[in-house]
């Protein structure tokens, strides 16, 4: 896939320059590194802060979800690379309103170490930090090793729910608990059809034949559960729903579902898939609340799709449907 860029080393900084120039009402750069985006307004004293961070190349994840009812700040790494601990510490400082800060991010080795280190760095500044890590990708480890699973699009639900709790004035323990509850209630599975190119690498991250797809592949090209000929949309959707249902039964439950494009796959195809998703949920008596269909967590120009299912209770549902706003998503 061809990319529109200048010098690859400037990709992320130029992207952030454009993002903040286009949406000054939502985002501002914070700190010296140029790699922390915070909400445009000042931090509300007494509000619990929520920070995230991770590699670039996943817009709207991570940076895009900074905004009212969502995140307070985000540390931004190079494409598919963790930001530094110092940048994460800066994001925590930007999010600090004196009531503590929740670190909410995906389960990847580098990010874990760096957010822990960032916590050490800010502990000298009397900022209380808690951690919730998303590990929603069921294809990345079996249920017995659920803690080893990668974090993928489930992040979007966790950001939304934790963000609403913080906005509502809940304290750090309560925000952390509800974020953990949301993370635990999410299951995702993806299928990739094509690769994408990390600008500084200059060539596709992985190879996949013109008529192949890979079920369960990760958002950086991590191996999935099978690779085979491209199947019809309905067959793909059914298998993904089978896998989700096997991991988390939702009979009679209230759920939300995210049918997410990994980037190049157009909304037309997402809607074709959504027919099956909805029919399968109807068939087990699940009620769909606020379904999301679109590009919520991507890998640049990768073609493919992921489904994320979240099982709701009253508290989660109220927080999910509460207002939020950012340049990429708005609820309420």
């Amino acid at each position: 896939m061809k990319k529109i860029l200048n010098n690859p080393v400037d990709y992320v900084d130029e992207m952030l320059a454009g993002l903040t120039a286009a949406h000054p009402g939502f985002y501002r750069l914070h700190g010296e590194s140029g790699r922390v985006v915070a909400r445009a307004g000042a931090v509300r004293p007494g509000k619990v802060g929520i920070v995230t961070g991770g590699g670039s190349g996943h817009l709207p994840v991570f940076t895009g979800y900074v905004g009212p009812g969502l995140l307070d700040a985000c540390a931004i790494g190079d494409v598919f690379a963790s930001p530094s601990a110092e940048q994460m510490a800066d994001a925590i400082r930007a999010a600090n309103g004196g009531a503590g800060v929740l670190r909410l991010y995906g389960n990847y080795g580098g990010d874990l170490m760096n957010f822990d280190m960032a916590g050490d760095l800010v502990s000298f500044e009397d900022i209380d930090c808690t951690t919730v890590v998303l590990a929603d990708d069921i294809a990345s480890a079996p249920p017995e090793e659920a803690a080893k699973r990668r974090g993928v699009a489930g992040m979007v639900y966790a950001f939304k729910i934790a963000g609403a709790a913080a906005e509502a004035g809940q304290d750090l323990a309560a925000v952390t608990a509800v974020a953990q509850k949301a993370a635990d209630a999410c299951r995702s599975v993806g299928a990739a059809l094509s690769s994408c190119t990390v600008p500084q690498a200059g060539r596709p991250t992985f190879d996949i034949a013109e008529d192949e797809m890979e079920m369960g592949m990760g958002i950086h090209g991590e191996p999935g559960v099978w690779r085979d000929k491209l199947r019809p949309a309905d067959a793909i959707a059914h298998e993904m729903m089978d896998r989700l249902f096997a991991d988390m039964p939702v009979e009679g439950a209230r759920v939300s579902v995210l049918v997410n494009s990994l980037g190049a796959t157009p909304p037309e195809e997402l809607y074709i898939l959504y027919r099956v998703v909805k029919a399968r949920l109807d068939a087990v008596g699940a009620t769909v609340v606020m379904p999301l269909v679109g590009r919520y967590a991507t890998s640049m120009e990768m073609a493919g799709v992921s489904f994320t299912l979240i099982r709701l209770d009253d508290a989660l549902e109220a927080l999910l449907t509460a207002p939020c706003d950012c340049a990429f998503w708005r609820v309420g």
């Binding site: 874990l112 170490m113 280190m117 991590e222």
Partner: protein
């Protein structure tokens, strides 16, 4: 002949030069199964430390803290963060001291190893930098003569590579290609061999 600020600065200078020399080799080793940035991580970190060498304090603890921060600022890669973690652990232990004896090297390596293990949550024996530090800590235990400590450390950092070469990777992206990784050196262990060699002088 104990290790003081001057010895530390000399070590930093040698290590910085060594990492520049190994830039391509480390990137390539990491690039075989990982993202290929290990040379970048090490040269960036060492350049930052070298750049601030003039203002390093005599307090070895404070000096090591400054070195650690150079890594937390310059890189988000695992190895940089692990280096910072190890340096911080040693910094805490040496707070207020202006000299350290060769006989303490083993204990300091073990401190770094343990802190890095706590941070990265990997097991010993997993073919990572932890195994290099563990080998150095064990090989230098009970030694007090500076030359003997140096020799034992270098010898251990080299020997551990042969010991682990044919094992599968258990950490990071390389773990995904565990089978492929047999017969290949772990890039973090490779970097640690260079570090130990350079510091030993």
């Amino acid at each position: 002949m104990s290790i003081d600020r001057a010895a530390m600065v000399a070590g930093i200078t040698r290590l910085t030069a060594e990492m520049e020399r190994q830039f391509d080799a480390l990137n390539a080793a990491d690039g075989a199964l990982g993202d290929g940035d290990l040379g970048v991580t090490m040269t960036r970190g060492m350049r930052a430390i070298s750049g601030g060498v003039e203002t390093l304090p005599d307090d070895l603890g404070m000096a090591l803290l400054t070195c650690a921060q150079a890594f937390t600022k310059s890189s988000g890669s695992s190895y940089g963060t692990l280096m910072a973690t190890g340096l911080m652990a040693m910094a805490k232990a040496l707070r207020g001291r202006t000299a350290v004896e060769a006989s303490e090297v083993s204990g300091l390596a073990a401190l770094a190893r343990d802190a890095m293990q706590a941070r990265g949550k990997a097991d010993l024996g997993g073919k990572t930098v932890l195994d290099s530090l563990d080998a150095v800590a064990r090989a230098t235990a009970g030694l007090g003569d500076p030359a003997a400590v140096r020799a034992a450390a270098v010898q251990a950092a080299r020997a551990v590579m042969d010991e682990f070469r044919d094992r599968p990777a258990t950490i990071g992206r390389a773990r995904i290609f565990a089978d492929k990784s047999r017969g290949m050196d772990d890039p973090g262990m490779l970097a640690m061999r260079g570090i130990v060699e350079a510091l030993a002088g």
